[in-house]
């Protein structure tokens, strides 16, 4: 890394000062695509606080590699990743392996913004235990998305969706859950739609869900391995209804991957499966840097910064704290959402129950079972 980022000798434990003794270089690793929302916030902070952070470097990667990399660095006693922006998966994996510094309750006082979390965001923050700090939040899905010209009357309940799929084999698509946000949201949302025994226990409590998915599987020809592909298929007509989320509804239409006229719908018994991104600090980061990063996170949790999380609908709405209206968002972001956003979301978010997603272990178990029994069944051996 940068010569001054090799922290082999700098102090990594003991009291964390309020301000770093000298301006720091902070290396940010994003494994959740979170920088699309937060990079402007960070850049803004650095621009204004060059005494605290002199320079930021950004690295992007996928969540799975995160653990290996941090472990390797910690194993060698030289950690040069100072701030990790991650989703639930990477966060949980790191907690499991004991990679993260406990930020709470030790530094709760330095992060006043956390008090203003939206209820959903607060619930997501609980998932993070003491390690991470939620920085962006959205209620996600599961939604269904379709083009009105192809589907005149979309199904409005899970059984109806099954009927529709039966009538239109190959028409319904969702991506392989372990590779796709909307895919996994659909998976986690189903137990609520089907009123299953224990929506939090995919092994024992999802009998109806698994039966439904297997039945549905008969009429699904394809589980693409990325959400973008389902979007593309929706656009080119080879899929008629796909699973989606708020972000995946708005942003691709902004980008032009999906026609603007696409519509979304919900199914009866709909619960939002919420999602969030977290900021975490790996163990082994020097106290000076810790101080700098904490200051950064604190600033990210202020309303004016949070407003940037509206982005172009990528994580719609995005802000994790209360009272951040769209009007505070930057110009182009506001324009995009005014054009491509959906007024109905506000009511939908206010009116539907919110639930946190499965914890990492259960989620992996659900993926595994889906792979074996649903996806892996595709080809009879």
């Amino acid at each position: 890394g940068a010569p001054d980022s090799g922290q082999g000798s700098a102090k990594t434990d003991g009291p964390v000062p309020d301000k770093p003794s000298a301006p720091q270089t902070v290396n940010v690793l994003d494994v959740a695509g979170n920088l699309q929302l937060t990079q402007p916030m960070i850049d803004d902070f650095v621009a204004k606080n060059d005494k605290v952070i002199a320079k930021v470097t950004y690295t992007k990667a996928t969540a799975p590699e995160l653990v290996g990399k941090v472990k390797a660095q910690q194993g060698a006693g030289r950690v040069d990743i100072d701030l990790v922006l991650t989703g639930v998966d990477g966060l949980a994996a790191g907690i499991d392996q004991g990679l993260w510094l406990d930020l709470l309750p030790a530094f709760a006082a330095r992060l006043p913004g956390m008090a203003d979390y939206l209820p959903g965001a607060a619930a997501m923050q609980k998932l993070a235990g003491n390690a991470g700090v939620a920085v962006t939040y959205y209620p996600s899905g599961p939604l269904i998305e379709y083009l009105p010209k192809n589907v005149a009357t979309p199904p409005t309940a899970a059984p109806a969706l099954l009927e529709w799929a039966k009538a239109n084999p190959g028409g319904f698509q969702y991506a392989r859950p372990s590779n796709s946000g909307p895919g996994r949201t659909f998976l986690m949302g189903l137990p609520y739609l089907l009123d299953d025994a224990d929506p939090k226990d995919p092994v024992k409590g999802w009998d109806k869900t698994w039966a439904y998915l297997k039945e549905l599987d008969k009429y699904v020809t394809l589980y693409p391995s990325s959400t973008s592909e389902t979007m593309k298929n929706l656009a080119n007509g080879s899929a008629k209804i796909i699973a989606s989320t708020t972000g995946w509804d708005i942003n691709p239409r902004v980008l032009g991957t999906v026609p603007k006229e696409a519509k979304v719908g919900t199914l009866a018994g709909f619960h939002w499966i919420t999602d969030a991104h977290y900021a975490v600090i790996p163990k082994g980061v020097s106290v000076d840097k810790q101080a700098a990063v904490l200051a950064l996170i604190a600033s990210m949790l202020t309303p004016e910064q949070q407003a940037k999380a509206y982005d172009k609908g990528y994580f719609y709405p995005g802000p994790a704290i209360k009272d951040v209206p769209l009007s505070m968002a930057p110009e182009d972001s506001r324009k995009a959402i005014e054009e491509f956003g959906r007024p109905e979301y506000e009511a939908l978010i206010a009116g539907s129950p919110l639930t946190v997603p499965l914890d990492a272990k259960s989620l992996v178990a659900a993926f595994d079972r889906w792979d074996r029994e649903v996806g892996g069944n595709k080809v009879k051996k």
């Binding site: 799975p64 290996g68 994996a93 394809l222 589980y223 693409p224 080119n236 080879s238 992996v364 595709k378």
Partner: protein, 291 residues
């Protein structure tokens, strides 16, 4: 005592062995230790004793089957790549105009990388891609062919990325064979087929064996394309996906290392067979006498 140095030299031991030192040191320092560590990891699963991870792999049909799935993809792909490159490279030996261009174009696909190949296959062969469009427009088929997200897609991506690789190596190996040998064959009444099969091919065979091994290894560790253009939970659930999921989704490094080691072992068996056969072949100079 001096006779000793001659005796050693006669058995291949002389100062040239020092040339091996850098490579050996390198591999020993940066591979052996980490590898043993991985081996150790695979023997320390959270539960089930030393061989628990292996036992689990082999008792779970869903995991075990990945071996066959992988072999079913990798062996034919590697074989096709090698077999197809031989006649093409053979044709390309002579001099003709545009040869360099043709060679370049043939090896271009190695530059594509998995991502572009996958994207391209999805775009081109997808249900509304140019390929299916053409077929539909020409009235050859009524519904689009499913060529992606299945075995075909992965296989094609392995051919696109693997063929140029094999071709480049075969072409180079072939260029090392003295053409006067084939001429001698011709004067002895051997037609092109016999010249090819009895003279060129045996001399090329050691190179082909190596090429096969390398393409096979590449095909065997097919990972991104198995996910991107394949059916990663079903028909193209290759062993590297099993290893990847164990290590990076479940964070069960023991299982991940075990799967990876099994993968290496299977490859090793195939390669040992091929290289064993190779050692039965003639290996040595490919020039035929004076000059």
């Amino acid at each position: 005592m001096v006779a000793l140095s001659h005796r050693l030299a006669d058995r291949g031991i002389d100062r040239h062995l020092f040339l091996l030192v850098p490579a050996t040191l390198f591999v020993a320092a940066l591979f052996i230790y980490p590898f043993c560590y991985g081996l150790g990891l695979s023997l320390q699963p959270a539960q089930g004793g030393a061989f628990g991870a292996y036992r689990e792999f082999f008792t779970d049909a869903y995991q075990r089957d990945t071996i066959m799935t992988t072999l079913k993809i990798a062996l034919p792909a590697a074989l096709l790549n090698v077999v197809a490159s031989v006649p093409i490279a053979y044709k390309m030996r002579g001099r003709f105009r545009g040869k360099r261009l043709l060679t370049t174009v043939l090896v271009v696909p190695i530059t594509l990388g998995t991502v572009l190949t996958a994207e391209g296959l999805l775009n081109f062969l997808g249900p509304t891609g140019w390929f299916n469009r053409t077929l539909l427009a020409a009235g050859i088929v009524d519904t689009p062919l499913t060529l992606t997200h299945n075995y075909t897609g992965v296989f094609l991506s392995l051919v696109i990325t693997g063929f140029p690789f094999a071709f480049l190596l075969v072409l180079s190996y072939l260029s090392g064979i003295d053409p006067s040998l084939e001429r001698a064959g011709a004067t002895l009444g051997a037609g092109w087929a016999q010249r090819f099969f009895r003279i060129t091919l045996p001399l090329l065979a050691p190179g082909l064996a190596t090429t096969f091994c390398l393409t096979f290894v590449l095909a065997f560790s097919v990972f991104p394309s198995a996910i991107l253009v394949g059916d990663p939970s079903g028909s193209t659930r290759v062993i590297s996906i099993a290893a990847y999921e164990a290590a990076y989704v479940r964070y069960d490094y023991a299982a991940g290392s075990a799967a990876a080691l099994i993968m290496g072992l299977v490859e090793l068996i195939v390669i040992a067979v091929v290289l064993g056969l190779r050692s039965l072949l003639y290996t040595g100079t490919t020039s035929g006498g004076k000059g």
